[in-house]
Amino acid sequence: MNYWNLFYIALRAILSNKMRTFLTMLGMIIGVSSVITMLAIGQGSKRSIREQISEMGSNMVMIHPNRGRMGGVRMSSADMQVLKAKDFEDLQKECPHISAITPQVSSSGQLINGIKNAPTTVYGVNEDYLNIRRYKVDKGSFFSDEHVKTYAKVAVIGTTVVNNLFDEETDPIGKVIRFNKIPVTIVGVLESKGSNSMGQDQDDIVLMPYTTVQKRILAQTHFQSIVASATNEKDTELAVEEISAVLRRNHQITGDKEDDFDIRSQEELVSTLTSTTDMMTVLLACIAGISLLVGGIGIMNIMFVSVTERTKEIGLRMSIGAKEKHIMLQFLIEAIMISISGGLIGVLFGLLASYLVNFLAGWPVYIQGWSVLLSFAVCTTAGIFFGWYPARKAARLDPIEAIRYE
């Protein structure tokens, strides 16, 4: 027996009843296309969240003082005088998985340029801040190490600040503005980044050497936080461990005593934010998976009807020399052909629907290769699984009874 003949026989049987074949396929088509679309929507929203976060620096690690008590009063973390210059220097020297690190101190106040003024927050940082937060200097230059060492009264500002304080024609570079009562020279303007995923305007920013903010504005020696960048996303956890070790040593925290600092990586933030979309994706995929199952049962149902309806045909095939395995394979191939072609059409519909969702509703979608492969594999398996039993029933028919069946 040439097994290609069986494909030919099965194909003929499918084509001889197109309407029924199509209705059977419909279950698979809807199942597969909904799985693909749901996963595409889920993945799309997850990706868009991830992208927004990684704009802020995806391998960023933030070190804050732990909120502690001072005489029974729970203090704001910014007021805890835990992070010192020595911590920063040690971290800079001793952590191999950190590529950039900057202390951070901030102060709110009013920026004034002639008659124009605007409230803002000044961040005291060093040069590494650019790398960590993925900012770029558009005009002028960033302040140098020399500026940091000399507590220079210089600032790099964002575009929102430029718009608030200067006319359109004015070049802000070299201009002197005042922060509260302190005159500051603008040395650079940052490239615009827009707002972040939390809706904060990332261009409303004034950066100054951290030493300047510490000595000239806040008059303090501690940092409000230290921000670092791990060498790459995968090393974030290692970097966190290294930082923790250094700080515990410096702060003389031993054993299971509570840390007086708090390290947060961007990774954690990402997973917190994406956990909801993950759950939604799983939920949607489950519902879609159920429709795939129902589609499979539809195939089984139709195959059973088909076997009963074609009992006489089966009897005839057996009497002219078809073996049990031939009948079995014929019906199995029919079921698989229906489910595979249903699956293929479903993939096309799924891709089309994902595109439409993106185009019409403007939702972010992302189609992953594996979700297409998975749903296709599942529907093929469903074809084999649900086609097997009816096929066996057909193969086990007694030819004598089958041929006389009316």
């Binding site: 027996m1 040439n2 003949n5 030919y8 026989i9 003929r12 001889s16 006489k312 045909e313 009897g315 005839l316 095939r317 057996m318 009497s319 002219i320 020399g321 078809a322 073996k323 049990e324 395995k325 031939h326 030819p399 004598i400 041929i403």
Partner: protein, 248 residues
């Protein structure tokens, strides 16, 4: 008139278990059929002729006794072996034609060859066409089976039985669903096939038809009660010519 024995059965029995009762459908049947014979097996319903036909057609196996088809014992063959034997040695013709609907005459005739691994596509179509020409349907090859008359459908079925070049053709009430005129047309076709050397077993309950074959085996209650040779069979073509033509 021939020397090679196609079918050789010896003391064939077949019992069926129906509840507590054993039904003896065949109670020791023996005969042999030579190559080129045209045998009518006759009997009323319940005589065991259907059971005998099933066994002769390798669809069923006997409870006792021997059955040699073309020199090989069928009784101890496996299901698959019997299926292969049916494919290569036997051509079935049924009362209700059993053609695949929505399928052309050519595809219907080619069907047995699909289960024969030694025949490629070109040979398949070639042989199916030849078989259709042999039964006089050269102008109906691409008609769908459900668009044909009963007589034409039975001709397609006969072509399907011939296409594998079987050693024996088994016809089960092949004219049972046809009117008198068409019946004789089909019978005439069988006689032509017989003339060309085919071995045919024609199972019927109609005594009239036995006059057209070369031998008649009469069954009753699972036993042979007569086995007669007919040296001068009637010609179905002549009978057909004598029939009053009521259609005109």
């Amino acid at each position: 008139m021939a020397n090679k024995s196609i079918i050789d059965i010896n003391n064939l029995t077949r019992n069926f278990q129906v509840g507590d009762e054993t039904v003896h459908a065949l109670r020791g049947v023996s005969f042999s059929i030579q190559e080129g014979e045209f045998v009518t097996i006759m009997g009323t319903s319940g005589s065991g002729k259907s059971t005998l036909l099933n066994i002769l057609g390798c669809l069923d196996t006997p409870t006792g006794g021997n059955y040699l088809l073309d020199g090989e014992s069928v009784g101890n063959m496996s299901k698959d072996q019997r299926a292969e034997y049916r494919n290569r040695k036997i051509g079935f013709i049924f009362q209700s034609y059993n053609l695949l609907s929505r399928t052309t005459a050519l595809d219907n005739v080619a069907l047995p060859l699909l289960y024969n691994g030694f025949v490629n596509k070109a040979q398949r179509i070639e042989r199916a066409k030849q078989a259709l020409i042999d039964v006089g349907l050269s102008n109906r090859m691409y008609h769908f089976s459900n668009q044909m008359s009963g007589g034409q459908q039975q001709r397609v079925a006969i072509a399907r039985a011939l296409v594998n070049n079987p050693v024996i053709i088994l016809a089960d009430e092949a004219t049972g669903n046809l009117d008198t005129r068409t019946s004789f047309e089909i019978l005439s076709l069988f006689q032509d096939l017989h003339q060309s050397g085919k071995t045919i077993i024609f199972v019927t309950h109609n005594p009239e038809l036995s006059q057209y074959s070369s031998r008649t085996i009469l069954l009753r209650d699972g036993k042979i009660i007569s086995d007669t040779y007919n040296s001068h069979p009637l010609s179905a073509a002549e009978t057909l010519a004598k029939l009053p033509n009521i259609d005109l």
